[in-house]
């Protein structure tokens, strides 16, 4: 099992009288740069602390024009982390490839981070969430095509000696020759997040990448997705390695179950009711029709629809409790899911610094060692997971 500390870097200060979506059209006059200065630095501290606490890695991600996550450029964050840590893997989960024109920019920036960090980058690549296609006015009907072509170009840029010409449908480059090249051979480990699109699962299985389950669904949705991923690998002629699966889940640890809920619950609801609205816009053509049906099956269980704490617990939308409870729940779920990567989301919504730090410490000292003992693993070779 590999343990990652994942940060979303949310904006915790939306005014109480604002009840619109947090994405795309949420007026940016609501962003207070003074708050920004404080929280960016606090959130980075929380990620850096993961190394001292014994995590295997840290994660940042990419979202634009929203209050849910303030990292339109995750590579900037990864670069900071590359200098402020020495051991942990740094996972960018991931660059939204269609938003980078040309995609060789991803190859370049990832190579920089990999060189600076001494070969610790995990290169996540995403199609980009629905809202990003509104934010950048990029055609969602071309999302998958662009992602595929950009991915192919980036891999070639990393593994084929340059300069070479690349003439695709969307990207036409006469000279592909990125300096620097990544340290890891053949290239950094690649992670692909997904919410159940069949094309993504097949793509991950075919390329032997790792699939990260995007959170905020009932645990049964993850169980189904991961089973499908294992099937997809079998179809490709091999058995999926647990390290090819990652479960991202909000976690909060306190002395007792009651104390944990008391400290955490209101911040969880800020996340659900103030930051999630607007995330699930699915622009036309973004998902193929054959995948829509699959994704729609999970839609009713989307976290936006949560009404009660009982539902949160029943569906394992968050793992909240004493160290014993958290250990028990994670142990059971990780075994069922067969995932080899646990991506813990420790800061969530308005959860303040002190509560976040205490939870991280408690998890690291009282939960993680027990889970490590239960789920030993072989270190993944860089570049390929299986």
């Amino acid at each position: 099992m590999r343990f990652f500390s994942f940060h979303l870097m949310p904006y915790p200060a939306l005014p109480p009288d604002y009840d619109g979506p947090a994405w795309v059209t949420c007026p940016n006059s609501l962003f207070d740069p003074e708050v920004g200065h404080a929280i960016y630095n606090r959130y980075l501290d929380e990620l850096v602390a993961a190394e001292r606490l014994g995590f295997d890695g840290v994660c940042v991600n990419e979202h634009h024009q929203n209050a849910y996550g303030l990292m339109p450029s995750p590579n900037l964050m990864a670069a900071i982390l590359a200098r402020q840590t020495e051991r942990v893997r740094i996972a960018v989960v991931g660059n939204a490839l269609p938003l980078y024109d040309p995609p060789t920019r991803v190859a370049e920036e990832f190579a920089m981070i990999d060189c600076i960090s001494g070969g610790r980058l995990i290169a996540g690549m995403v199609v980009g969430g629905g809202p990003e296609y509104y934010s950048f006015s990029i055609n969602p009907t071309q999302a998958r095509e662009r992602f595929q072509e950009a991915h192919d170009l980036i891999k070639r840029a990393w593994t084929e000696p340059g300069p070479f010409e690349f003439i695709g449908k969307h990207y036409k480059l006469r000279y592909v020759n990125p300096w620097p090249r990544p340290l890891q051979k053949p290239h950094p480990e690649i992670w692909i997040p997904g919410i159940g699109s069949l094309e993504t699962l097949e793509f991950v299985a075919r390329n032997r990448y790792a699939y990260m389950g995007i959170p905020y669904f009932h645990i049964s949705v993850f169980e189904r997705m991961f089973d499908m991923m294992r099937q997809a690998c079998e179809k490709e002629g091999y058995q999926a390695d647990p390290l090819q699966l990652g479960w991202l889940v909000p976690i909060f640890v306190a002395d007792t179950d009651a104390e944990a809920r008391r400290l955490y619950e209101e911040h969880f609801w800020y996340f659900v009711r103030r930051l999630l609205p607007g995330i699930n816009i699915s622009p036309p053509g973004y998902t193929s029709l054959r995948s829509v049906e699959n994704i729609l099956k999970g839609a009713p269980s989307f976290a936006l629809n949560l009404q009660s704490w009982d539902q949160v617990v029943e569906g394992t939308y968050a793992v909240v409790g004493s160290p014993e409870t958290v250990c028990e729940v994670l142990s059971e779920k990780l075994a069922r899911l067969g995932a080899g990567n646990l991506l813990g989301l420790f800061q969530l919504g308005t959860l303040p610094a002190e509560a976040t730090s205490q939870s991280l410490e408690a998890f690291a000292t009282e939960v993680m060692p027990k889970l490590r003992a239960q789920f030993p693993h072989a270190q993944a070779a860089p570049g390929a997971v299986a």
């Binding site: 296609y133 509104y134 006015s137 990029i138 055609n139 969602p140 009907t141 816009i281 622009p283 036309p284 053509g285 029709l289 829509v292 049906e293 729609l296 839609a299 009713p300 989307f302 936006l304 629809n305």
Partner: protein, 265 residues
């Protein structure tokens, strides 16, 4: 109107055909209207009406071969050739009007009399077209219809409430709507609902053109219809009171009469 299937360059196209007389092609909007459309029945009294479904709509194939509005224009030209059409009359609504204009600027000799109803396709600063993508269907219905009691407006509201959590929407019902939106997005996402080069080319249109504006259109400001009428050499503008964006659905008789008069005149 009889339903037919025709093999075209991009794939198999579904179309409706009815009536007799000089040929008239109807190009539908992003709503994909055509089946059971009273407006087409009225037109077929005086013309042979051909109403093709654009790729991605109905059971028409070939949307994979279409990336942008120029591809759409070339598809229509191919369709014209396969239907044996020389210079038919063309009536286009909204998206269909935009396509008709793209065809008429490139091949003016292939379009006879032209009727553009609330045509899309232009960008006019200060007269922005409202968003059609990502909006709840009930909100969209309010912009598209003057009379909210119209059956299609009611259906859109039903579908909007059907996507609330807890309700089961049969996927078969959702599929055609998604396909139509996706096909529209291919043409109309970026840049939004317009072709930056179209305006300067409208002077090439040789057809006698009637531009029809639904007086209560909440989607496309009147400035767009005015711009079309001003830029096309032999064009005039007329308003239909009591109609919003989807004029053929709301005022089929009035529109059919306007079209008939235009074809005869």
């Amino acid at each position: 109107m009889r339903r037919e299937l025709l093999d075209c360059e991009v794939g198999r196209i579904e179309l409706r055909r009815g009536g007799s007389g000089p040929p008239l092609v109807y190009l539908h909007s992003a709503s994909g209207e055509g089946e059971g459309l009273e407006f087409l029945d009225l037109l077929s009294d005086r013309a042979e009406v051909l109403a093709p479904m654009f790729p991605g709509f109905g059971s028409s194939e070939g949307i994979e071969a279409i990336d942008d509005i120029e591809d759409a224009a070339f598809h229509l030209l191919d369709l014209w050739d396969r239907l044996g059409l020389s210079a038919p009359a063309v009536v286009g609504l909204s998206l269909g009007g935009w396509m008709a204009a793209e065809l008429a600027t490139r091949w003016p000799e292939r379009v006879g009399k032209l009727v553009l109803v609330n045509p899309a396709g232009l960008y006019i600063p200060g007269a922005e077209v409202k968003e059609i993508f990502g909006r709840p269907l009930d909100e969209l219905a309010a912009d598209l219809f003057a009379d909210q009691a119209h059956p299609v407006a009611q259906l859109m509201r039903q579908m909007a409430s059907a996507t609330q959590p807890g309700t089961e929407v049969p996927f078969e019902l959702v599929k055609p709507v998604l396909a139509a939106l996706s096909a529209t997005a291919k043409l109309a996402w970026d840049p939004y609902l317009h072709d930056p080069k179209l305006h300067r080319r409208l002077g090439r249109v040789r057809s006698d053109t009637l531009v029809v504006h639904g007086e209560r259109d909440g989607l496309i400001p009147r400035a767009h219809a005015e711009a079309y009428a001003a830029a096309i050499p032999r064009a005039r503008l007329v308003d239909v009171p009591g109609a919003a964006h989807l004029v053929p659905l709301e005022k089929p008789r009035e529109l059919a009469e306007l079209v008939a008069a235009h074809l005869a005149g």
